[in-house]
Symmetry: C5
Subunit: 361 residues, 5 copies
């Protein structure tokens, strides 16, 4: 788990590389070994077609057909294919470059007659228990949506299912509504991630209350905050993108869909607020953790002080009567030893009374 996190952190550093020729399509992710999958899906109220597409030419021909088209490219490592698509669909080279860049910032770009949403998809990795994020671009054109993903979110499958069955997501709605559905699903991923972080924090809280000394707590609290800040710095620009999408005067988005986008925007706002709530819980847990450390230290100090305060004077008294002066009359008394022990007992009694009064024992 720690490894996966440090890997993620390192990735961040590389988002601005110098000496990079502008307009060149370079895949900046790690090689995945998975095949690139290119699929087309076409629907209208009474039409539904799904097929694999072989290349840019088939895409172009597919887009000519009636109905709403959803083309999805799962895997970004085939840059030749990407460039070919770009040429056929007349994507601006800079946009193509951004699509292939796996560390792209979340943003909204507008081509002459297309909208591009660059964003990140959060998926929980079942192996490492960590949140993995990957690059995802959604292009909205007249009558079609084109999604480019490093790895297609599993939730996209449910959208396909519903389109297949014709229920839920009415096939009557156009490409802008499909864009909304996909954005909605992607924003919902944040809630899943927050739920996961929320329950991790709950577990940490119990742990703090029970065994405050284990020091993994500190690391875990810090990691949680790190992930929360990561989610936050990712939802913030997404929120702006959604707000811009809703407000932008574009023929691509029907007024009726605007209300739905407003809804996703509201969800993004709620995500941001939930993140803040969790951050506060994280802070509060750290505070309590530190408070318990303080309490514990107080205990330790009290024990040390009580012990020292009792035994230092006693040891001194023993030292006195261990001195080798010739003329120490009490040493020769018959009950001198007993008297000495008595004096020490009284000293102890005084100390203990004092500590009792001070509420230290």
């Amino acid at each position: 788990m720690a490894q996966s996190r440090s890997r993620k952190r390192k990735k961040r550093k590389s988002s601005f590389k110098a000496g990079h020729l502008p307009g060149s399509v370079t895949y900046s992710g790690e090689p995945t070994g998975r095949d690139v999958v290119l699929r087309g899906l076409r629907y209208a109220p009474d039409v539904f077609e799904e097929r694999e597409l072989a290349g840019a030419d088939e895409i172009a021909e597919f887009l000519q057909q009636d109905g709403t088209k959803w083309i999805s490219l799962d895997g970004l490592s085939n840059t030749t294919l990407l460039e070919e698509i770009g040429r056929r669909l007349l994507f601006h080279p800079l946009l193509l470059e951004d699509i292939a860049n796996t560390t792209q910032r979340t943003k909204l770009e507008e081509d002459e007659d297309r909208l591009f949403v660059f964003m990140r998809d959060f998926e929980r990795n079942p192996d490492t228990q960590s949140l993995d994020d990957s690059q995802l671009t959604i292009a909205l054109g007249e009558g079609f949506v084109f999604t480019f993903c490093e790895q297609e979110p599993s939730e996209f499958q449910t959208v396909r299912e519903r389109l297949r069955s014709g229920q839920g997501l009415a096939r009557a709605n156009g490409a802008d509504y499909l864009l909304y559905r996909l954005l909605d699903i992607l924003v919902d991923q944040y809630f899943v991630a927050l739920d996961e972080l929320g329950s991790r924090l709950d577990a940490l809280q119990s742990q703090v209350m029970e065994s405050p000394n284990s020091r993994e707590i500190l690391q875990d609290l810090f990691d949680t905050r790190h992930e929360l800040l990561g989610l936050r710095s990712s939802i913030m620009p997404l929120r702006d993108v959604l707000s811009a999408l809703e407000r932008r005067e574009s023929g691509l988005i029907h007024p009726a869909t605007r209300a739905y986008l407003r809804d996703v925007y509201d969800h993004a706002l709620h995500v941001a607020e939930s993140i803040d709530t969790l951050r506060e819980l994280d802070s509060a847990t750290l505070e309590v953790y530190l408070s318990r450390l303080s309490l514990r230290q107080n205990d330790v100090m009290r024990v040390l002080t009580v012990i020292s305060t009792i035994f230092l004077p006693l040891t001194f008294l023993a030292g006195i009567w261990g001195m080798n002066f010739l003329h120490m009359p009490e040493l020769r008394w018959t009950y001198g030893y007993l008297a000495a022990l008595g004096v020490m007992a009284i000293a102890v009694a005084v100390m203990i009374t004092y500590f009792k009064k001070r509420n230290w024992l």
Copy 2:
């Protein structure tokens, strides 16, 4: 009390369950053993009718009548009934699914000609002294309000009373005004909850000032903050819902009612501000608690230092004269012992003067 809290926390985890078929109505709460109660209430300036309803058909027929109708379903465990109602009233399956989901987020949904407010109701549990929240949905349609609750808030009864008596809430107002009344009552519940938390904080403050060492304080402060954050993350989306209700162009809400909704919105704002005030009080109390711990630790350290500083040198002196060197002339002096004690007394006097000067004694 601690148990009820941890139960609540665990509940939170389950709000996003994987492998859940979309559009299926599943009751996600715990079985309550209570019967599901379905009631209809109908009023107009000179009409008042109240009756139990047997099923979806009776509801449909009841809604045909004149006047403002309030149908309330108390208990969500009967999913068969819910589905039947959904089919008869043409509720969207996804909305029905949300109604039955007891961990639904607060939100506003709009059907073709109906508004749905999904929210949470806070009720103080007299047994556990904790705040219990339950799922509550209010649907507003043309001429009727339909409330779906896990357990109907007791305050709804006072609304029924007033409608019965015809005073206070004028029967002349329509369904939108009834929606306002119910929302107003539900927001007022937050004030009750805040009052409870406020007095708990007051008690904790006194406790901190009097006996700062008890460590339940830490747990209690943390629990209070947890509940405040819970209330906050619940009022925030509600505030947005109320603001949207007030602003939304909907034929269901008369312009005159808008001003009332603005009022509830203002209350929600006040709730949010009061929560922030209480959170600050909570933080301040924690700070004072930690400060008192610090003060106490300071005391402990001072005692330790004074004792050590007095007795370590004395013990050393005693150690000197306890050495077994053959040639230690002072050991043979007649008043050597007295002189030694005198030296020690002077050392003590010097120390004490020093501490007095430093204000440590």
Copy 3:
């Protein structure tokens, strides 16, 4: 002082009482023993009349007359009188209930043709040196202002004076201007309260810098913050009320008066900002207080460490030569004792050099 504060805190708890019949006028304050005073004041550019009013009938008759009328009810314990007034002036029973409730939240209510401002008046109690707040309601109607107070603010007297003399507050202005004047005076009370808290904080700051160990400081800082939060949670809704008053389309408030209300609103904003400034000062003072505790603890620890580090090795050396082995040649040396003392002196010198280097002495 501490007593008066805890009394105030307790009062807060009772603002939501269960089992309270709606619409019934109940005085929720403590019996004051003072008489209820009902006064009428009437003015126009060339008219000025002031008189005691005996009951609801006289009020009704008084309101019939020309000019601007100001009726003030000083004391809320006579609920019979209140109910009588309510009936005569056609106040809504719920409003009347709110007027008599001494723990009413600050809010603005609108009757058919009247505005009601429910707020709190802060007055400095010369006996306890604490801030006392009391319930105050101002009703604005066509041509009249009606004030209901637990105890009339002393500053209202200056308004009467000016109306009497005809200067300052031009008698030409109507009831809405009188409302503005009263609100202005009440908001100014916050500045007085803030000045008082500001100078208390100044005194605490000096105290912290001079004698950081007195522990009343902690209590005082906390009490100050408590009062600041109290003022804040009271000015916040008042700010909203003032903003609503200024914006609301009401025939009762002339456009010219709106600018004045904007002014009071600005004052309320300034109060809120000043409160935040003082809260920061309070926090800063607490931080400095804790820092000084830390510094002091550092001093204590340093002394302890220096003493221990010097005397523990010395005592050990003395212990060595106090051992009773038969064959310890140095014990028989002529200058063994001197040599031992010399070794100890060197040890001390080494220690002290070390501490000097570390800057601990």
Copy 4:
């Protein structure tokens, strides 16, 4: 320096004095011993006149002339003169009272045909190195600006210079532009003050890093924060005044000048933001200071622990062999003493290894 600060704090308390007859002009500052200077300046594109004015009559006559007039009163102690001016220029008595009150809050007042900006001028006192603030009022009327200052800001002189030379500030602009210039200069004073505080903080930062133990740092950090809060609570209302000036529909301010006022408003915003930045630096410096104290305390504790842990067991061992039991065979061994020293050396070696492993040495 400390004295000047405490003087300033005391001044704050007196801003609300009870028993003050409204409308009476009272100078609330300390007597300065300086003469009151009354100057008139008149300009138009081709006119420039500057002269001393003797009294209210001369002012009135001076204002009759053509061109833009700037009358400045330097010194507020001559209340007779102020009253005379007020009568001649028909200033409202309450405004005149505010002009003479040296603890007036920053605000904007509007007379029938005049605007009054009440604000504070910050000037760095070269003697005490502290920031002194003084009362300053600028009245804008048709064709003239009237400034009332406790002590005229030195920067006003540069405005006079430029008007004299006719360059920079075009003489063609009217009184509203002159108001803008004066406000601009006064807001720039804040930047000067912030620069001063910024470099003081820089110095404190270096000091914290180098010699964290000097305790003036705490006082200085606190004083800096105090001054920052002072500047902040002064710029905040000024910001509102500037915003109101820009937005207010007043014939006195030409639309062209509005853009300039917007500029000053922007500057005020920047001042507010810079103050917040400096406050954060101040907080950060305090945090680092406390962190270094903690680090230092950690060092001290480690030394104490190492010393105690080494010498307490050794001393115990020496004590063992210093016991006076008759039958302690090892005391009679030939190499008993050496063996004892050996045991002690081994104990020390074990301890030191342990500390090395724990990274404490």
Copy 5:
């Protein structure tokens, strides 16, 4: 690295120098020894010309030509040239003064028919690893952009490249689009700077977790925060400048370009948010650092307490039996010594059991 930072801090102090004649052009930077380079670049869809310009006359003549002109002055030390340019192009003397002032605040100024953006350029210094900022002014006039830099940002070169090749940045766009491109590049520099700071923070986090005792961490965390605050106080006014540019009604900026400026404004907003995220990470890292110090101190204290609590009583016991009383019967017992050692062993066992129970061992 530390040196470069302290140099930067000192620079800040000089931004407000007294006794500076207004309107005089003075270069306030340090002499760089580099030559001043003056270049002209002219383009239109089918035109591209690039040449060195010798002086103000050539500039004036160059500006007469067709197409969009970009004149860049790299190096501000030649004030004679600057004054010459100012005279020829009729720049206001005050603006010229601001251009040459290397500590100018970020702001937007408007001449009659030109816009001036004064801002700072952040560039990473490869030698010192620190962020260097330098003064940069962009003037936008009818058909031309004039950039004045202390040192031209290296990224400007890529704009030139693209204009040369005619791709990417369409030559068809005018001067306002060029302004946008330059601003975009300059804002992107902030992201580069933030990436650098982000990875530095990542490194610090790992360091804190692994070896929390190194005290450079504190200095590094503080320096990072300092640089973040520096970036923040620089992006904030830039954000306002960009917002003003977008909103301002100016014939110089075509409506189409406004959308692009909105984009840069969004980037500036994201920069501000990212800075806040990094500041929180910095704070969190400091908190964890301090928490680890606390944990460590807890460890140290526990060791000290355990050692003291075990050996102080033992030493006391040894002291008892080291006393020289004549009548101490146990000293003469045959197994007295063994018994004493046994008693001590039992004492140790008791202590260790106690510590084990308290979880301290």
